[in-house]
């Protein structure tokens, strides 16, 4: 290991020593041991080939005390919101006194202190990744939500992660949502800096869907400063006949790795992961997903649109693996990128790993520029070129946004895309 890597590991060890007695010691210790075996991933690790986290984290920011007592927090839409600020669950800022019927919430600290076996097992997850292990070793706080079986929630639930500005800080959060059998809910998830900073964030959300449960999930990752390093993971386990429809809007900012680990463990489970990323400047955004079909009749759809401008870099790695048992699996993955400048780059790596013989699985990845015929068509109708380009880019993003079922949420996402494009048009 190089000196900087040694120093980063030493800083992380200091953080671990500070956190190891904050509940679930065995879980933290085994996670730390798993992390220590590999250290921070670099490009020699296959799953991290396009994103060198070790180089980006040569100086590890310290864990800091919780943020401001009474921050002004933006609210985009009506929801039952749980706020995590600078890595601490904040009941005082959350809607804990008006929980919908059938929903219970604990902070991660409380949940770890209770030590309930089901919760601990769910929190541990079964995905193998050094940054996830690091997250489990150092998790500071988060929200643990349970939705009772059969409960149908009208009002969306929301996990809102806020990060204060100022000196760079490290933040590790882990949250959990368990949907009982037949429960239905919408979960919004947001990552928003109060002021931009070079934060080093590692967030994990674990979802457990019981048999027949249905969850719509919409995440937004707001822009952060150029020197920020963020890893945002989603782990999902799906029971029989359950369905998860997930969307994420990435607005870049520094280095971002979004990773999804989904396991379709029950028969006829159905997942759909969709997303759009808007990258400019020197943004580096990596979306990596691993979908494991473990039972028959599963269906998985992945649909991503990447818009890459200036000197930004996009990465998409999608792996769909089908176990021998998982006959009649139906999988389709699509990743399309739009490169808006000569300095923009995109790395696409779709992968299928199929051990069953009666399956339909496909993938497609394309990378291109704005279409000259489409552009001329719009211009010939009177639309000036910058606006015509914006319409086409918006249209490209819309193809992914259309996968979001709720109209109000879709409109809010479209407004963010439009705002991003206005900055481009203004140049």
């Amino acid at each position: 290991m190089s000196d900087t890597a040694t120093s980063a590991t030493a800083d992380l060890k200091t953080a671990f020593d500070a956190m190891k007695d904050a509940g679930a010691r065995p879980l933290r210790q085994s996670a730390w041991d798993a992390f220590s075996r590999e250290g921070l991933p670099n490009r020699r690790v296959e799953a991290w080939h396009y994103t060198d986290l070790r180089a980006a984290l040569c100086a590890v920011a310290p864990l800091r005390a919780a943020g401001p007592a009474t921050p002004a927090l933006a609210r985009e839409r009506e929801s039952c919101r749980f706020v995590v600020l600078d890595g601490a669950f904040r009941p005082d800022l959350s809607d804990v006194s008006a929980l919908p019927y059938g929903v219970s919430v604990l902070s991660l600290r409380e949940a770890l202190a209770c030590g309930e076996a089901e919760i601990l097992a769910a929190l541990a997850g079964d995905a193998e990744d050094p940054t996830l292990a690091l997250n489990a070793a150092l998790m500071q706080d988060g929200a643990v939500l349970r939705v009772s079986p059969g409960c149908v929630l009208e009002r969306p639930l929301e996990f809102a992660n806020f990060i204060s500005g100022g000196a760079a800080r490290s933040v590790f959060t882990r949250s959990l949502v368990i949907l009982g059998a037949g429960a239905r809910a919408t979960l919004l998830e947001s990552f928003t800096p109060l002021e931009r900073s070079g934060s080093q964030e590692n967030h994990a959300l674990v979802m457990v869907l019981g048999d027949g449960a249905k969850l719509d999930h919409v995440a937004t990752i707001a822009p952060q400063s150029e020197d920020a390093v963020r890893v945002v993971s989603l782990l999902a386990t799906l029971g029989e006949n359950s369905a998860l429809n997930s969307f994420c809007l990435v607005e870049g900012g520094g280095l971002l790795r979004r990773q999804i680990f989904a396991t379709l463990s029950g028969v006829n489970a159905d997942v759909s992961f969709n997303g759009a990323s808007l990258l400019r400047g020197r943004d580096h955004a990596d979306t990596t997903l691993v979908i494991r079909h473990e039972s028959p009749g599963g269906k998985s759809r992945e649909f991503f649109r990447h818009i890459v401008d200036e000197s930004a870099t996009g990465v998409f790695q999608g792996k769909v693996s089908v176990a021998p048992l998982a006959q009649k699996t139906d999988g389709a993955m699509q990743s399309k990128s739009l490169l808006l400048s000569d300095g923009a780059s995109m790395n696409n790596k779709p992968e299928l790993e199929i051990f069953a013989d009666d399956v339909v699985c496909g993938h497609g990845a394309t990378c291109g520029r704005l279409d000259a015929d489409q552009l001329f068509y719009l211009e010939a109708r009177g639309v000036p070129k910058p606006r015509a380009e914006a319409l086409l880019i918006e249209g490209f993003a819309n193809e992914a946004l259309e996968r979001v079922k709720d109209e109000a949420t879709r409109d809010a996402l479209a407004a963010r895309v439009a705002a991003w494009l206005r900055m481009r048009e203004a140049l």
């Binding site: 279409d371 068509y377 010939a380 109708r381 070129k385």
Partner: protein, 249 residues
């Protein structure tokens, strides 16, 4: 209204238009007929301002103003409208969003107030009803999943909405069955007006049975070789283009 004077156009080293001269008056429907590969589509693109064509000589005047230096959207705002031979599909862009952007961009460029949504909707719905454009088409992304006939109807709907001064119809009959051809032609005929000129580009006489031209021009090898009245189109239908291909060679 439209005067094209001695127009020479190349793509790279290849000469496409070779001294083309043509005038279309206010209220006139001028048909341009000619064999494949004579530069008919190039003419429509050069007049509407597409990039990639080198104009080496000549002028294109719209109401006396040379428009060759203008960007496509500026020409559109001055009243140039090209009905495409192959209207492009634009996934993700809602038809209504596109129509509103086009209409209001042109209005802004002319210093007019933008249309507000209720007024805009009213105009679109009226034009759609006249042209048999069903609501479902307006709800879809632009031209996506449309049949050939539906795409052409959408072109005419745009023409009706944008009220151009000069309409260029590039092989509007291609890919249309008889019923669609009739609907599209009726749409065009309804837009004939004394302050609006039409340049109808076609291979076949058939379209001109529905859209009756005032003048017919035979184009081959990059220029107009003969001009006449509607009878010229009938003559071409029986004799073909072979005389003209020979003449120009």
């Amino acid at each position: 209204m439209l005067e094209i004077k001695n127009l020479h156009v190349s793509i790279g080293d290849r000469k496409i238009l070779d001294g083309l001269t043509l005038t279309v008056h206010d209220g006139e429907v001028a048909a341009i007929m000619g064999p494949n590969g004579t530069g008919k589509s190039t003419l429509s693109y050069v007049v509407s301002g597409r990039e990639g064509y080198d104009v080496t000589q000549g002028e294109v005047l719209l109401n006396g103003e040379n428009i060759l230096g203008l960007a496509p959207h500026e020409r559109a705002a001055k009243g140039v409208f090209l009905a495409f031979q192959y209207p492009v599909e634009i996934p993700g862009v809602a038809t209504m969003t596109f129509l509103k952007a086009a209409l209001n961009s042109q209005r802004r460029a002319r210093g007019e107030d933008e249309l507000q949504t209720p007024d805009f909707m009213k105009r679109v719905n009226e034009a759609a009803a006249r042209l048999g454009v069903v609501k479902d088409m307006l709800r879809r992304p632009l031209n996506c999943g449309f049949s050939g006939g539906e795409k052409k109807r959408m072109e005419i709907l745009q023409m009706a909405l944008l009220e151009p001064r000069l309409c260029i119809l590039d092989e509007t009959d291609s890919g249309l069955d008889i019923d669609a051809l009739r609907v599209v032609s009726e749409g065009v005929n309804a837009l004939r007006a004394k302050d609006r000129g039409f340049l109808v580009i076609t291979h076949y006489q058939r379209l001109l049975d529905y859209i009756k031209p005032d003048t017919v021009h035979v184009m081959a090898k990059g220029r107009i070789l003969r001009s006449g009245g509607p009878e010229l189109a009938l003559e071409l239908e029986s004799s073909g283009y072979k005389d003209y291909i020979g003449e120009a060679a």
